[in-house]
Symmetry: C2
Subunit: 674 residues, 2 copies
Amino acid sequence: MAVQQTTVNPDLAVERQNATFNAEELTYFLYNGPEWTKRKRYLQNLAIQGVAKLKLKQYATLSREEQYESGLQKGAYAITMVKKLGLKSPAERMLFTEAVNPHEATGFNLHNSMFTDTINRLASDEQKEKWLPLVQSFRMVGTYAQTELGHGTFLRGLETTATYDPQTKEFILNSPTISSIKYWPGGLGKTANCCVVMAQLISNGQNHGMQSFMVQIRDYDTHEPLPGVTVGDIGNKFGYAGIDNGFLRLNNVRIPRENMLMRYAKASVLENGTFVHPKSDRLVYGTMTMVRSAIVHDAGRGLAKAATIAVRYSAVRKQSEIQPGAGEVKVLDFQTQQQKVLPQVAAAYALMFTGRNVLAFYMQVTSQIEKGALEELPQLHALSAGLKAVSSWDATNGIEACRLACGGHGYSQASGIPKIYVDVCPSCTYEGENTVMTLQTARYLIKCYNQLRQGEQLPSLIRFLQSPLEGRSSLDNQLELQELLAAFEHRARRMVHEVGQKLQTAAEEGKKSHEAWNSNSVELSAAAVAFAQAYIVKVFTDTVSRMEGKVKAVMTSLCQLYALDGIIRYLGDFMKDGYISSEQAVLLQSQLLTLLAELRPNAVALVDAFDFPDAVLDSALGRWDGNVYEALYDYSLRSKLNEKQVLDAYHKYQRPFMESQWKNCPQAAVTSRL
Amino acid sequence: MAVQQTTVNPDLAVERQNATFNAEELTYFLYNGPEWTKRKRYLQNLAIQGVAKLKLKQYATLSREEQYESGLQKGAYAITMVKKLGLKSPAERMLFTEAVNPHEATGFNLHNSMFTDTINRLASDEQKEKWLPLVQSFRMVGTYAQTELGHGTFLRGLETTATYDPQTKEFILNSPTISSIKYWPGGLGKTANCCVVMAQLISNGQNHGMQSFMVQIRDYDTHEPLPGVTVGDIGNKFGYAGIDNGFLRLNNVRIPRENMLMRYAKASVLENGTFVHPKSDRLVYGTMTMVRSAIVHDAGRGLAKAATIAVRYSAVRKQSEIQPGAGEVKVLDFQTQQQKVLPQVAAAYALMFTGRNVLAFYMQVTSQIEKGALEELPQLHALSAGLKAVSSWDATNGIEACRLACGGHGYSQASGIPKIYVDVCPSCTYEGENTVMTLQTARYLIKCYNQLRQGEQLPSLIRFLQSPLEGRSSLDNQLELQELLAAFEHRARRMVHEVGQKLQTAAEEGKKSHEAWNSNSVELSAAAVAFAQAYIVKVFTDTVSRMEGKVKAVMTSLCQLYALDGIIRYLGDFMKDGYISSEQAVLLQSQLLTLLAELRPNAVALVDAFDFPDAVLDSALGRWDGNVYEALYDYSLRSKLNEKQVLDAYHKYQRPFMESQWKNCPQAAVTSRL
């Protein structure tokens, strides 16, 4: 357990005593052993102590402007320290940064990620040599501007133009319409002085498609917008208050020809304006799959935080009696509460394991690509797209379920869950809208289905499609992990075959393939979800098989819970073809309830094992010491509305209104005491 | 359609032309005919024009403090006007107030509702005579303080004490612990100067249970807190920024004996401190059921707004191609998008119809009660509790689904949906936490199940429990409404019988009833949900049967969609006992997709019929004229961060950080232009 010494609420202490396993062992499993766990805690503590010295107000008590300001301050601190400590691994940087500003995006977020990555990926060596020192030294502070007011996922639809002027050897950038205004890029509004702009390249009157351009938007010294540039913050959002998502309108902004990013489009616009087509951009998929794989893990981590908060609070919150007259009990003792929170704990582990797995797959494919082998890239692409969708949806729903499981107090920002929710839920939309993602996965699955019909062998990832469709589940009260996995694979197989058959029939009937695709897309999307869920169950069962002892025992139950919860939620899918019988359905429902009771004593230990420091949870309800009411009260005292006993708003609006009402009430005028 | 003249986006105009029915006719149906529709529009326009004259900034662009202030200003305006116009009916007041501050709670919210209601309900005639003039003239501004930091649903658990002092004939109010601090009451923090406090009555050393006390907390003239009173705002929440939910800590606050609310507890504390038990509080259920019934309608209305925004936006937003190369299409043309938004339109109608139905049931029961007939009260109580839970859950999930269906822009406060979401989602928790509600409904269902076993006749509401359990669905591609309803009633019946049998078995095995209840509570809760859903389907089908012509045709399809969507979502429930066969399941899934295509051309007309003025939607995406990008851009320009080109935060944190980074980079220092 993390080093946190306080007087622990006895209701929470007793939960820890009653656990059947050592949470610390599970922590070691999660964080690659004791050594790395120690390092993790060292970095987190360093960050937390460092931030404490900045003496900032609690994030939830700040105004939006202050949250933006605090984001710059903390972001700058994190970047400085990451450099100073020489943290190279993404995991170390993430842990340190998360502990500085947990779920608090900052104006610098895109600089060190998309902006720098894009330069590394798309700039020529000369360009890198010129720009990277300026980027690393923050002379250039940048972001990446792709999305427009009217255009998102569909790249070819973007309207911003970069027209080559062979006279001056410049590109002229324009936002020709309202819908072409760049909109949403993080840090664009107020923080960045440069950005990479995606625009339609027009040369000699011909449109050559999307290219990337480095554009300076603000003066390096005065930070004022440059001529032709209209830039600003897009206003309040559901969350992301700390970051200045921005808009950018370009009016005849000229940039030198050398500012087109040229690694793959080398000399693609000759000085006279002739366009040379770039090489395959298949490698571009690499970064996208990496980002999507990371989302899977982040979604799991976000859900793990919300689940930690909900479980700990459920162990200290007392509400209503089970036995009339015997006094109120912990809400965690109610079966309905167990059903709300324990599946979320299971899902958090499932997604974190899967995120790690798919990142490893990414590393493997990347190293193959470097050797020129691109075979596994389509698999990785299909898998990461589907997992990105399922994990972000499940985490979003799960975090909100955890918030609602905290009752009224879950609605206070003091609970910490709203902050996590609004930070995680956009991952359903960014880096590929989820439904678009599932349909990309489905595209791959249908390709495999067609290969199978041609008698071809499928890649291992997808080989379960080859098994017979007629099977019946052998699931019984043993809940063998292999049988649970078999159920998920069967369901995915049936759904892919069913919709594949429909597309086949449509084709045979002479229907246009794009129309057939659209009119089957609900089922295609569902099949992709089923595929991704089967993969998650597979990763969870594989992971549990590598565990030992008491940890293995409890994690086996948790894995069973995860799978059973999925089967019950999608029961129709499993019963539709008789794969799971009515008798089995009844049995599985009752086994699910048995598992809840079985896991109940380990609930707190299971979330303790995530090992989040209090500062990362930033929650009055999820505190390690369980002293929730003191923390809530303390939070309230810091409300800005409490800075004065009687607010100006009282004198300005309330009092005059009251007087206007009571002036005709003789009784009121003379009453000064109840 | 409402009177709103602008240049309408042609993509939206064509949708309206293509509808197969007249939206205005459906509006008349929703709002009780043309006369009342006219009145509704008159009041809404009056409110909107009145607010426009106040020249307030857009709510989403304000800070929390400003939102509170704007709440006072608008709240005062609405109250003044409602009085001036002499609006008596709750519907008229709601429509006017909603148009003034849509989904923007204000500090006065509780004064005119819970505070006044409680006095009307629990105060004696003398007390009313004394207090009501002060309340109506706003000399007293009040709220209702029940919830404590550590105590919510379970009333007996409240810790605040009111100890009678026979010497002075006063009650002494105390918050003896941190967890006893009153927490959450709306308006308590800064606005109210009085509140009704629920507290344990202690007299002569004996605890006589919960009573209500009128307590003055702030000076009528200075508005400063009175001695012994610690009061303030609880801080930022997920939403509800306009209202000062507050905390209240009482330290030996003395109030006269006459301040105990005495209607049902008349002279219940004699001057010498003797306690006389009050009469039955069964009537108290009345108000609770009324509030819960109103939540059903409000949930539907909130969902209707989100659905209006999502559908209209889906008809103007273009994204990706269906036919490659043929250009981007409206997202509403994608089957997956239809599946996201159309079931929400259906659910909005279902909940609004049901809300109206259960309010009528409430009126009927109330008039019976006045004649001394209490027989139907338990039915109303069980029904309203279950419907409250299902409607608030479905609206909460549905609103968020609508937000996600708007892609990235749904995340901007400009979309209007976050404001609706955070205003509606607390209804899952307040006025009875949803799971507690479903278990109350289940309690009633099990009572009926046991009566049935005893051979007793059941009340009509619940008579479907008596039908045989062995049936098989006759559903076919005709999707007869009665067959759809039969499916929902069968499912509810099976689930009640199944869990009833389990409780029976447990009793026969000698298990303690409270333990058996808890260990079956997940299934009990699910059975109650099934019961409420069957009721909603019944109301929807009944309502459609009263319609005519083309409106009836499209609403029949919508009702079918609502029911089918529910069957597919809970397919396992319907298949578990073979009631719906595999063949039927396949058919129903495909019928669902057919319905989506069939309803697609009427999507916009169906939401137009809700007849929400733009000001009530307060959404850049849901505008009647469809000019969404202009509105989004306009919203952005008003961001507080745009008040200055270069913010103080830049000089304070960003610039010093940048300089610290580039000071060691010779290249950076000399570069002043990209």
